[in-house]
């Protein structure tokens, strides 16, 4: 009870800070320097239509690299956490009720579509809303579907790991190429910018986003697979 009271009191304090923030908040009337630069320069410099994507993949590419790394880390650690100790005892698998016919059929039908949609989302990230992360998540949801329909199936950890790693290496590698061929690490202008608004434009952005998508998809999948395979209690 004391704890609850203390928490309320403290959250009142934090709330006061937040209130202070809101009271002092005055919405900008015009874009600030940074935003204006992005608005004006993205198209001519990078050739990307989706400014957010340009920022994510190029201008703040380092953040994105970190972000991808976060997922990589999480996947690895989830693997570590769940692997800990479970390798000692042989998993005592239980018999689950078989999945319904509907689910099986649905999976068979939907899976290619989902994967395709995912790929679309991350390859068109520089043009339309969406990108590697969203696409990756969609691919992972396809994986999820498979997990639901074949709960007992062992998945290709190896494949997932290889996709994940190669995508990661490629991301880093493209970044490094930026140093060699263009203005710096993660510069997308190692490839021609192409025609604004087309699929193969904006330099390396689609490529990077593709790898990000693959990597994110692989990472989420690996997390899900790891979680699903730890039913041994």
């Amino acid at each position: 009870m004391i704890k609850r009271f203390a928490v309320i009191l403290l959250l009142l304090g934090i709330g006061a800070i937040f209130t202070g923030l809101m009271v002092n908040y005055v919405p900008d009337k015009a874009l600030n320097v940074t935003a204006r630069y992005y608005a004006e320069q993205t198209a001519p410099d990078l050739g990307a239509a989706n400014i957010v994507t340009a920022i994510i993949v190029t201008y703040r590419g380092l953040d994105t690299l970190g972000e991808v790394t976060v997922l990589f880390l999480t996947a690895a650690i989830v693997g570590l956490v769940l692997a800990r100790g479970s390798s000692d005892e042989a998993p005592a698998r239980r018999d689950l009720p078989p999945p319904g016919e509907l689910l099986l059929t649905g999976t068979r039908l939907l899976l290619p579509l989902i994967l395709l949609f995912g790929a679309y989302v991350f390859t068109h990230g520089h043009l339309t809303p969406g990108g590697g992360f969203q696409g990756g998540a969609i691919i992972a949801s396809g994986m999820l579907l498979m997990l639901l329909s074949h709960p007992l199936r062992r998945f290709g950890h190896r494949l997932i790991a290889i996709v994940e790693s190669i995508a990661g290496l490629a991301f880093v590698g493209i970044g490094v190429l930026g140093i060699a061929l263009a203005g710096g690490f993660l510069d997308n202008r190692i490839l021609p910018l192409g025609t604004f608004g087309e699929l193969f434009s904006a330099g390396a952005i689609p490529i990077i986003y593709t790898f990000v998508g693959l990597k994110v998809g692989a990472e989420f999948s690996s997390m899900l697979v790891n979680l699903s395979e730890t039913e041994d209690l």
Binding site: V52, G130, F133, Q134, A140, L224, S228
Partner: protein, 84 residues
């Protein structure tokens, strides 16, 4: 414009409601998780209203979708453990 604001208000009320539902300790965990996912989904609608389609997609796919599944995966394991 008023429509937008009205919708935003509705969404806000919905989010707060689901958030409280998610964090109240009395309901079952499954409902809490669902409520949290719902709040996230409502948030992604809000993002759309705020002119952030990228964020909206991400929130919907990752924040409300994948996260919820992750929760349920773990919940399932834990439940089964509790039953044992």
């Amino acid at each position: 414009m008023n429509l937008n604001i009205g919708m935003a208000l509705l969404l806000a009320i919905g989010m707060i409601g689901t958030a409280i539902m998610a964090t109240r300790g009395k309901r079952s965990l499954g409902i809490s998780i669902l409520a949290a996912g719902l709040a996230s989904l409502l948030a992604s609608v809000m993002f759309l209203l705020l002119g952030a389609p990228d964020v909206a997609m991400t929130e919907a796919a990752i924040g409300s979708g994948l996260t919820t599944f992750l929760f349920f995966f773990v919940l399932g394991r834990v439940r089964r453990g509790e039953n044992d």
